[in-house]
Amino acid sequence: MLTEALVLSAILFVIGTFGVLVRRNAIIVFLCIELQVNAVNVSFVALSRYLGIDGQLFVFFVMTVAAAENAVGLAIIISIFRHYQTVDVDNFNLLKW
């Protein structure tokens, strides 16, 4: 089942990546990033069957960090929205300066 799980992980990851690239809504982009994270989690879990419990521990940590990241990220989105009245990522070029 390892191969299948890894392939599933890859597919999910790619779909998530595609979503990040084609969606404009910052929240959906975020959601797609979560998709990527989960895809990676699947690989971890799949491989942990062969390599030991550490993989699962990693997933545990990933989830925790993801929770923190989501909290901060969503707060940023809220604060950006307050400023620009939009969450369309194409309208933001703050990184340029």
């Binding site: 194409d90 933001f92 340029k96």
Partner: protein, 703 residues
Amino acid sequence: MTEFHPLLPGLIPLLPLLGFLGNGMLALVAGVRGAAELRAGAGAGKEKLGELAPPPWMRGLPSWIGPGAIGAAFLLTLMNFVGMARSGLEAPAIVRYWDWISTGGIRIEAALQLDQLSMIMMLVITGVGLLIHVFSVGYMREDPGYARYFAYLNLFVFFMLVLVMGASFPLMFVGWEGVGLCSYLLIGFWFEDREKADAGKKAFIVNRIGDFGFLVAIFLLFTSLGAVDYAGVFGAAPELLAYGGSTATAITLFLLIGAAGKSAQIPLYVWLPDAMAGPTPVSALIHAATMVTAGVYLVVRASVLFALAPAGSATVAAIGAATALFAATIALQQYDIKKVLAYSTVSQLGFMFMGVGAGAYVAGVFHLVTHAFFKGLLFLGAGAVIHSMHHALHATHKDWDAQDMRNMGGLRHKMPVTWVTMGIATLAIAGIWPFAGFFSKDEIVWYAGAARTGGYGALFTALWGVALVAAVLTAIYMTRLMVMTFYGSNRTGEREAEHLHEAPLVMTIPLSILAVLSLFGGWLNVPASLQESVFGGFGLLPMSDWLERWLEPVTELAQEIHLSHAGGYATASPLGGGAVLWAGIATGVALVTVGLTFRSVSKRGIRPASESGAPVGVVRGLLYHKWYVDELYDRVFVRPLLGASRIAWRWVDQILIDGSVNAVGSVFKALGWFGSLFQTGQVTTYAFVLTLGALAVLGALLL
């Protein structure tokens, strides 16, 4: 015959230097005081400018320090002169003070040389200088820059003494540039007047062109002879330099550039007429009696070199003759009294150059001395006239030009002493027996013709003719000056005429002394050939050939070289006739010219300057505008140089050099700009590029 021990020779230049320091201090104090007053009244208006009267003590001290220093130097010079005359000195006395420049490659001492030539020059400088200093006490009394004036004047005398006393060419160069500097400062003495400041600047820069030649000559001397001191150079020159060789010719030609710059010869004469912007006593001292004759001194000092380079000598004579004629023509049509005298000076310096170029070094020095007397006198006289005119015009607030002769006339009644003394000087410069100029000028003209036996026969024959014409022109323009200034009716205006009066004693005494010298100065060197004739006063005139014999130790070597290579001088003029006959012809022609000019100018109805326009006629216009030489120089040299400078700055420096530097910078800027295109600031783009990167890495790993 005792041995000659120079008496404190170092003190002679040191005294004027101390005078400079003393007066300089006073000048600075006065300047600081004036500045404080000026600042205090800065809001009050501009009319206060330049009218800040110095306190009385400020006027008294410089009057004593300035002339006092020169007087002391004159006394000391006289004592040395007596000592030298008694001893019959052959070799120059050299007094060494310190190693001035000693690099290991060259050694130049700060040393003074006292010989017959420098002694004559020192006497002229300190003697005439003293008279002019005394005259200045009266002339400059009212000026707020009184102390500064004497400081500059003393500094000038110091440098002039260094020039003639220095024992090496570099030391002469120190004096050479130093007097140029003082000339610059004194011409621009009233520096608030833009034109005067400009004139000073012009004098300095044109002089620097001459200095360039002098410097190159010094370099040539050092490389070809290995020495730059007189003793070394003149000792080595006859052996190391071939007669008529290219090195000797080159050295003399470069020296000539220097001499032409300082002595206002073609083509570098243009600064001297402008230099009349300075106070008139300055014109008398610097631009007539001493500094401008430094070129003649240089040629005589380097007579050995010039004797070795006949081409160089001939060039000197040719340039002198050309200048003498050219400047005389311009003097004919000038109305500014000082301008006439300025061109006259240029012309007379041309005569001296002609003389020394012809190998008649003594005649050159002789004319230098007499010229110092009568031209100094003329300038001082003109100064007295201007002083008087200025007062008269100032008293009635008339804005006429105080120097324009058309505004004068009839001054002989108002200023009798000035009139008589200037009359003597005019007769002297016109070359009428027995005045000083007759003997010296006659000798030069004679030698110009007599030198034709050497290599350049046709040239010297022509120069002789030129000299005669120039001598006639001299008589014409000087008579014209006298008539316009002193004869006829007064044109200054009725109310003004009441204010015209004779100068004070402190000014007329120097005039009188110089008049005496102009009268008898020629007796210094009555030629032996003339002595038995009426021109020699049938032997009544004393001191036959005194100057000739006095200077013999200095010129003897050059004369020997000349004699051994070019042979002796002709004994008859190019048109035949001996010295006595031509002396007679010359004085006769001069007398007739003076008389004719006197009549024709007197008859001419002269109107004040404001009522008469520019002269009519092509020739007169050309002469009035000085042959348009200033304009020509402006077009040919000044403007192209400025243009080239602008091009060098704007195009070469800013665009070509800085541009290419900045272009290199721009290349990297452009690269950066290209890179910044990828920085859109949009997350999606970065995410895409990141993915692309991941794909690339993965592809590289797996494929």
